[in-house]
Each structure stands twice: as C-alpha cells, then as structure tokens.
C-alpha cells in the first residue's frame, strides 16, 4: 500500500501520548490560572455560518478561513481561523451583560495558509478576552495575564512589544489619505520599508508636517526614550496621537518585563483599535503571543462593547518549554479473578494512581508499558512491589 496515504495534509499535525500528556498538563494549568483571575471558559463551535464568523473581521480573516457549503441550509460555513471573533459574538449576543465580562477559550483553529513562521495551519489557540471596559486597567490586566501565561509555560526571558494603531490612523487621517492609500502605506509601514514609504508619500503628493511625521514613524521604535523622541517628532500631530503616546507610556511603566515600543507596529490593523502588543522570546524568529484592543468588533454584531484580549498557540508554547515529562508510577495488576484484588484496584485508581490490568500475553511487555510496580498477593492480601 502507498505509504503516502498515512501522511497528514501540509501544516496539520498531531500529538502522540508523551507530547499530548505535556500539553494537557499545561492546558489544565493555564485554564486554572485563567479561572483564578475570573476568566470563564467558553467552548465555541468549530464551524459557523460564514457571514457571522467574519462579521467585523472580513478583511483580516476572509482569505484565512476555509469554507464549505452547509448541505442543510445551502449557506456557506466557515471553519474558524480565529476564536476571538466568536468570543466577541458570545459576549454581544449570548451573554448580553452590562458588566465587564471575562472569557477564556482553547481550541483548534484552521488556517487556509500556513503561518509563515511555524508552518502550522492548525494552531491550538488559547486566549482570554475582557469585554465592557475601555480603560488602561483592562489592557494592563490582559497584558499581565498574557505574561503570566508565558511564565507558566516555562518561558523565562520575555520581551514585550507595545504599539498603538491610533497613532498611524490619526496621522493618515491628518494627512488626508483615502482608504486605499492608507492600506498601501500600512503595508510598507509593516515592513519598515523606509524607501517605499517615502516613495508612496511622494506619489500621494504629500509634503509638509504630515509627510515628515509619517516618514519618521517607521523609525520610532526602541526603549522608553523613544516616546520622548516621538512627542518631539510628532509635535504637530493631532491630539489623538499624543494621547496614544501617553497611554503607551503609562501602560509600559506598569509592566513587569522589558518593553520595546514600536509606534509603526500595527498587526491586525483592520480590527484593532487601540494598543497592540506581542511577546517575543530570544532565539524565536516570530512572536509567541499577541493581543490588543479591538473596540469596534461588536458593532458588526449590533452591540459595540470595548474589548481587549490576547491569544497564543499552545502547541508552540509547549514546543518552547523544554521540560521533560515527569512520569507517574504505573501499577500492573495480574490477570487473576479475586474480589480483594478488585477492591484494591478500585481504591488505587480512586487515589489517582494508574493501574493497568494485565491481559493474556502481556507479561513480556512490562518494560514497554513503563510498569513501576506490580500487585502481588501474600498472606496479608494484595500489596505493591517495586519492579
């Protein structure tokens, strides 16, 4: 038979018992962590009607979403490429609370295109979202929860990258760029392609302070001193820009790890509205977690609520965490029909111990099973013996 039959599609992977055990351990610890911060788990559907799934995020996620036709309704279904909009829909339509709502989630997502870094098309997305509060306090809480997530995953040196989409947006508006120009310039800005940025601004016939400020934006990145420099360079900018810089400074000061500010970093520009952040680890070519504020996503669902959140790929976090699996004792119970033995097995299993019942022909495979103890009978009854 053709061996290629057993291969998985490109960018799709699976976890074998050892890896799955490590991941499951981490998953439980993280969900417990979120619960201890008051974030309640939601389990969102794997497929949804496409128009609902892409509400408010069409431009960012449309190409990434794998589609199929629902045989029952004839409507298009999308397989989720990101759980964040689903959680927003749940907050807007299902919960409808006035109070701030804290939700967390974990689940596989499917992406049409592999992530350019890990090559994965099926990340295991884990994240938390806070709805209904528009201040710096909620951004700070989400940021710290992201950092706590990374620490719990065993990552020590974490670098935080902070940006604010409001800065570029306000400058583009100030310069009078129309939508198409704004996005073309955004693409160049994302690559910090200084030569292209200058060229585009020239093509748009821009000059004076608006052009100078947009030109300078790609270089405004670095430690906290860059913010003072930004206030100077962007002195002529609208108030929104200065408010955003103040916001970044305040948020950065409260943060528990080294912060790198980048005023031209925009990430999911279409649906982000305020602060955007990402975490990096030394030696990793790409970000390991990301998040930010996206206040308008609820509008598409008819109920705009301020929102902020973060997410990461749990499989990626697990791969970065080099801790070996700690093996639990495994007890082998002989294939003997005995009421006392049954009782003993039930008791051990209730205590959380692993008890494997011997099957005929299994005796030789003890080493392969990782057996550490066996149950043996003596005058006093069944007792555990080390292998």
């Amino acid at each position: 038979m053709d061996v290629k039959r057993w291969l998985l599609p490109e960018g799709i992977d699976e976890l074998l018992p050892d890896q799955a055990a490590i991941l499951e351990q981490l998953r439980r610890e993280l969900l417990d962590l979120y619960a201890s911060w008051g974030y309640r788990l939601v389990i969102t559907p794997f497929v949804e009607y496409l128009d609902s799934l892409l509400s408010g995020v069409e431009q960012d996620l449309s190409l990434q979403t794998v589609k199929l036709t629902d045989q029952l309704s004839g409507r298009l279904l999308g397989i989720r490429a990101d759980i964040t909009p689903q959680a927003a829909r749940i907050d807007a339509h299902k919960l409808q609370q006035q109070m701030p709502t804290r939700l967390c989630y974990i689940g596989s997502v499917l992406r049409a295109y592999p992530d350019s870094q890990s090559g994965s098309r099926s990340p295991l997305q884990i994240g938390a979202e806070l709805y209904g509060h528009a201040g710096i306090e909620s951004d700070h809480e989400i940021l710290e929860l992201m950092l706590a997530t990374l620490r719990l995953s065993g990552l020590q040196d974490i670098y935080l990258d902070l940006g604010h989409v409001g800065i570029y947006r306000a400058l583009a508006e100030y310069a009078g760029l129309h939508r198409e120009q704004e996005y073309a310039l955004f693409a160049a800005m994302q690559r910090k392609a200084r030569p292209e940025i200058s060229q585009l601004l020239e093509n748009y016939g821009l000059s004076g302070p608006a052009s100078e400020m947009l030109n300078a934006l790609a270089d405004l990145n670095g430690d906290a001193t860059i913010l003072a420099q930004a206030r100077e360079t962007l002195a002529a900018a609208p108030d929104a820009v200065h408010a955003a810089i103040d916001y970044l400074q305040q948020l950065g000061q409260q943060t528990s790890v080294p912060v790198h500010y980048d005023l031209a970093e925009l990430r999911a520009y279409q649906y982000q509205t305020g602060v955007v952040f990402a975490a990096f680890a030394p030696g990793q070519g790409a970000e390991i977690a990301r998040g930010g504020r996206y206040d308008h996503i609820g509008e598409a669902f008819g109920r705009a609520r301020p929102a902020t959140g973060f997410s990461a790929d749990l499989k990626n976090l697990m791969a970065l965490n080099k801790q070996p699996l700690t093996r639990q004792p495994v007890i082998l119970a002989p294939a003997v029909a005995d009421a006392d033995l049954e009782k003993q097995i039930i008791e051990l299993r209730t205590q959380g111990k692993t008890v494997i019942r011997e099957l005929p022909g299994q005796a030789d495979a003890i080493s392969e099973l990782g057996i550490t103890h066996t149950l043996q009978q003596n005058d006093a009854g069944w007792r555990l013996v080390n292998c």
């Binding site: 350019s116 870094q117 670098y159 990258d161 690559r191 910090k192 392609a193 200084r194 030569p195 292209e196 790609a218 990145n221 670095g222 430690d223 790198h260 980048d262 990402a278 990096f280 680890a281 030394p282 030696g283 990793q284 070519g285 790409a286 970000e287």
Partner: protein, 213 residues
C-alpha cells in the same frame, strides 16, 4: 562597532557579496578568512559577535524570516518574489542597481489577449500585468530568458536589465519599464525586538555610510 549580542548577517555570493563587503568594512566589520579562497559557508569576522553566512540570493529572505539570520542583504527583485512577509526592509543599500523590464522583439505587441510571458520573476510579472487588468500566461524559467522569444516559447520576457547588452546581442529591446531594483537590508522582526540596541546601531551606522556615498 561593538555588539552585545551575536548578530548573523546573510549574504549571497557574487555581486551582492562583493558590493556589501566595502560597506561592512566602513562600519568596522570584515571577514577573517580570505574570501577568494575559502569554501566555508559561515565566516567569522573581526567582531567576535558578528558572523556572515553565505547562501543563495533567493534563500536570503527565507533565512531572515525564520530567524536563522538576523540581517540579510538581498535584491528587491528577490523580495518582490518572496513577498517580504515577516521581514523589515529598513535600508536601500543602493548597490547592485538595475531595472526590471518587459523585453522582447522591437515590434512585439504587449497588449495582445493572453500574452505569453516567460520570466524568473513570475510574481512581479503577474503583478505588473494584472495591475492594468491584463490576463497573461506565465512561463516560469530559471535562466537564459532571452532565448524564450527567439525560439517562440513566449511573446515577451520579464527580466532584470543592467546595460541592455545581453538583450541587444539577441536582437531584443526593453519594451516597458516595471521598477527600479537595488539591494535592500532586511531584518528579522523578532531580532529587531529582542536585540534592538544592536540592530538599530547596525542599521544607523550603515545608513550613515550610504548617505555619505
């Protein structure tokens, strides 16, 4: 110039390597090995923390994107094909300059329906013709593109033109200008964040050198 963290720079052999070395020399970085004779692919430099890796031009964006190198020098032509995803392109080094052209016989009509275009630069060719709403048939070639119109494989080619001599020798002429090409410094996004001080120092020093020239 001293670096606090290890920095790896990816260069491609040939012209880019030859033209980049003087720039690096001016900011105080030069390879220890004799570049004419060495067969090594990783070169140590006079700076303890700086290494050069020698790879194929088209592989440079890939190495940098995945973080296997912090910086790279590569042509804009290569970047246009690669897409530039996950990279910063902070500097135009203004070396290895040339232009991307549509070329063919002097009487070639580039506006015919389903024009057949042969090129190594399929992405750039597609973008150029699609931008004016023209559907084309693309034939991917890896070299000697000038041959394609001569043997009737394609109506026109899209290729880099420096002096135009190769085209001329084969009876072809540049027909339509696509874009200027030069070598760019590219940087890995994560390196930029985690080794920011060194990265910025390196880029600023290079920028000063280029602006002086």
């Amino acid at each position: 110039m001293q670096f606090k963290t290890p920095i790896t720079i990816a260069l491609s052999k040939g012209r880019i390597f030859k033209d980049t070395l003087p720039l690096l020399e001016k900011i105080g970085i030069h390879p220890l090995d004799d570049i004419k004779t060495t067969r090594k692919l990783i070169l140590d430099t006079n700076q303890n923390n700086v290494k050069l890796v020698l790879i194929r031009a088209t592989d440079v964006p890939t190495y940098v994107q995945w973080g296997a190198a912090d910086f790279g020098v590569t042509g804009k032509d290569v970047l246009l094909e690669h897409g530039g995803d996950g990279l910063y392109e902070p500097l135009d080094l203004k070396i290895a300059q040339c232009q991307l052209w549509v070329a063919g016989y002097p009487d070639a009509d580039t506006h015919v329906r389903r024009l057949r275009v042969a090129s190594k630069y399929v992405q750039s060719a597609r973008d150029f013709f699609h931008a004016r709403g023209q559907q084309i048939e693309l034939i991917k070639l890896y070299g000697s593109m000038e041959l394609a119109p001569i043997v009737g494989l394609a109506d026109v080619i899209v290729d880099l033109v420096e002096t135009g001599n190769t085209l001329k020798a084969n009876g072809l002429v540049p027909l339509e200008f696509i874009t200027d090409i030069s070598s760019r410094l590219v940087a890995n996004k994560a390196s930029w964040k985690t080794k920011h001080e060194d990265c910025k120092k390196f880029v600023n020093a290079l920028r000063d050198v280029i602006e002086q020239e």
